[in-house]
């Protein structure tokens, strides 16, 4: 009996180690999708991948957004970064500059992965210094103006009139009062503030950084946008300097806010509510087209990874047309997958696609986080009554000093 056990266990060990030698384990980190509990889809996708690639085993670690950046940073600093991870678009510049992620141009060229497969803004966000540093995974656009039909009807305003700046302001004014607010503007310290307010700048033809990398916020289009935003402030809920998109959503859901600014991601939440809602595709001055600001994630391979080939295979898989739509709850970055996804999951897919194709990314810079911080200060200054040109000049001085 004992002998049999001994033989059995040695066989098991040998068999195990033989497998272990052929088995590669990939560490994959992703943002934890609190909204939708996406993890089951990720797991299903991973299983599918492992079926197609039996010699690769993928370990998924999901990390809540508030700590994701810090964890990645400490992991890279500490020398135990994952093999593959999703990176917020705004982190790509810093990770690229630091040399901690791999340039993917060769691998992409060999595999035939090209720019056209993805939304132009998303592809742009993955390029820095003339090289490709990530493959777009998912995207969304700030912002759509989700409106409460009942409130608009009650006030006798046509929601579609809000697509122009004048129209939005008039509507917001009419809808504010009696404890209700017209437009959900927010300016707390957070990236959602930047991305939502950037879209006003973009829609007026302005930019954050010019082609040569210098600050463009003090130029006319951006300053006009700031002036416009300041004029909307009286119609936004009080406490604008400490509020964020989440607090706006709470107000919208309980009927105190006529219009909230959110990406398409908001739709499932609204579907579940009792509200009668609709949306407009952004706002722009009369005669111009609304331009949204991209948000989203790219997949990157870490330089320290010992399984770069396998990691690439995983990325290729996750961004493949037939897979991309199943593993995201933002919108797939793969255009074809996105069309299918939007048809199946979102109201008004064509309008969303238009907004996606128009949208611009935020600056790709290794110092983006500092730029963002300066922008938040600028927006907060404006809401506190500082002259927009002055606020913009101050911001540009700070941004240009970053060098």
């Amino acid at each position: 009996m004992r002998r049999a056990l001994l033989i059995a266990s040695s066989l098991a060990i040998v068999a195990g180690s033989a497998n272990a030698q052929d088995q590669i384990t990939l560490q994959f980190w992703d943002n934890q999708q609190t909204e939708s509990g996406l993890s089951e889809y990720q797991r299903a996708a991973v299983e599918r991948f492992e079926e197609e690639n039996p010699d690769i085993n993928v370990e998924v670690t999901t990390i809540p957004y508030p700590e994701y950046q810090q964890r990645l940073l400490t992991a890279v600093q500490g020398g135990n970064a994952p093999d593959v991870a999703t990176l917020d678009q705004i982190w790509v510049g810093a990770f690229a500059e630091s040399g901690s992620i791999l340039a993917l141009d060769e691998m992409a060229a060999e595999a035939g992965v090209e720019a056209d497969t993805f939304f132009p803004g998303a592809w742009e966000s993955a390029n820095y210094g003339g090289q490709l540093w990530g493959i777009p995974f998912n995207v969304d656009v700030w912002s759509f103006g989700f409106y409460n039909k009942a409130l608009f009807d009650e006030a006798g305003i046509d929601p579609e009139s809000t697509v122009t700046w004048e129209g939005l302001r008039n509507a917001a004014a009419a809808l504010t009062g009696d404890g209700r607010f017209g437009i959900g503007l927010f300016a707390g310290r957070g990236e959602d503030t930047v991305v939502a307010l950037d879209s006003f700048i973009f829609s007026n033809g302005g930019r954050v950084l010019a082609e040569d990398g210098s600050c463009a916020l003090d130029e006319a289009p951006a300053v006009e946008a700031l002036e416009y935003i300041a004029s909307l402030a009286p119609y936004a809920p009080a406490g604008i300097l400490n509020s964020n998109s989440g607090s706006m959503r709470e107000l919208f859901l309980n009927g105190s806010l006529a219009m909230e600014l959110w990406p398409a991601l908001e739709q499932p939440t609204l579907q579940k509510s009792d509200l009668d809602w609709g949306f407009v595709v952004g706002f722009a001055p009369e005669g111009k087209t609304p331009v949204g600001a991209y948000g989203g994630w790219n997949l990157a391979i870490f330089e320290s990874s010992e399984h770069q080939e396998a990691a690439w295979k995983f990325i290729e898989f996750m961004t493949r047309e037939d897979v991309n739509g199943d593993v995201v709850d933002l919108i797939p970055a793969n255009v074809n997958a996105a069309e299918v996804f939007l048809e199946e999951n979102r109201v008004g897919p064509d309008r969303i696609l238009d907004h996606l194709n128009n949208a611009q990314p935020r600056p790709v810079s290794p110092r983006y986080l500092e730029i963002s911080d300066i922008q938040v200060t600028m927006f907060q200054d404006v809401f506190q009554g500082v002259e927009p040109q002055e606020a913009a000049d101050k911001a540009c001085t700070a941004i240009d000093a970053l060098g």
């Binding site: 609190t34 670690t61 999901t62 957004y65 959602d192 989440g246």
Partner: protein
């Protein structure tokens, strides 16, 4: 003082007592109230003191399988920290209070001084040390870190306690022929129970809620502790308050329970220690 005005005085004091109790309890009440609000019911303006359709669904969500992992981790890490910190602090504080050597006082002074170091300033170097020692994502990393940061205060608390124990106790034991170790174990230790309990409760409460180190030293789900687990309900764009509060209630209950059970000893320990510090 006349009987009547003394009565009014007592009534005023009782009212003050009630006010203090309310001050303490109202936020807790609110926490529970929010935790019972279903996700589909929007927040009302003005705030409702009690949800329209109270439900336990948030607690069900909060008590997910990960919660049990986080709970176990918190239990192991806090428990081990309390044991180790109290032990080491006992030894160090006792010697600190008895030894006449200048060097000892300086060393101990430096140890106690260390509580001034801000955590966020030392955390990255600490992280590197843990990494070199291959201790990331282990209980050991957190336990070692927690023991280290709670030792200074623990030693300070216990030293005050020991300073109050008269040296005649040890002198008597010596005359009876007992060696220093025996004196320590058989005479000093039993007498230090109140101080030990007070220190233990303090360390437990502090480590149970610790957030920054736990966040930095563990990356895998399996190793997370309860406070870090709260982040599960804070998304990129919004906070799920109902589940967050339910989770908070669940996290708070164990320490509140321990505290209620031991509070008499805690106060007694503080009496003996901090008072004549």
């Amino acid at each position: 003082m006349s009987r009547g005005s003394k009565r009014t005085q007592r009534v005023w004091l009782a009212a003050l007592q009630l006010a203090v109790a309310l001050l303490i309890l109202v936020p807790f009440f609110w926490m529970v109230s929010v935790s019972l609000k279903p996700g589909t019911e929007p927040f009302a303006i003005p705030a409702r003191l009690w949800p329209q359709n109270p439900t336990l669904e948030n607690y069900v969500t909060a008590f997910r399988p990960e919660f049990q992992t986080y709970f176990l981790n918190s239990l192991i890490v806090s428990g081990a920290t309390v044991l180790i910190t109290v032990t080491l602090a006992l030894l160090a504080a006792y010697v600190f209070s008895r030894a006449q050597m200048r060097l000892v006082s300086i060393v101990m002074g430096l140890v106690i001084l260390a509580q001034m170091f801000p955590a966020s300033a030392i955390i990255i170097p600490m992280y590197k040390i843990m990494r070199e020692a291959n201790l990331l994502n282990t209980y050991a990393a957190l336990i070692i870190a927690y023991v280290t940061v709670t030792l200074p205060v623990a030693i300070w608390m216990l030293r005050g306690f020991f300073a109050r124990l008269p040296i005649t106790l040890e002198e008597a034991a010596e005359m009876d022929g007992a060696g220093p170790m025996r004196t320590f174990v058989e005479i000093i230790l039993p007498l230090s129970k109140p101080g030990v309990v007070a220190t233990a409760v303090y360390v437990l409460i502090v480590t149970w809620q610790e957030f920054l180190f736990a966040l930095s030293f563990t990356s895998t789900r399996e190793m997370r502790t309860l406070p870090v687990g709260i982040n599960d309900f804070i998304g990129q764009y919004g906070i799920r308050y109902g589940e967050l509060m339910a989770s908070s209630v669940l996290i708070s209950m164990p320490v509140i329970a321990v505290f209620f059970l031991l509070q008499r000893y805690f106060v007694a320990g503080l009496t003996a220690g901090a008072v004549k510090g």
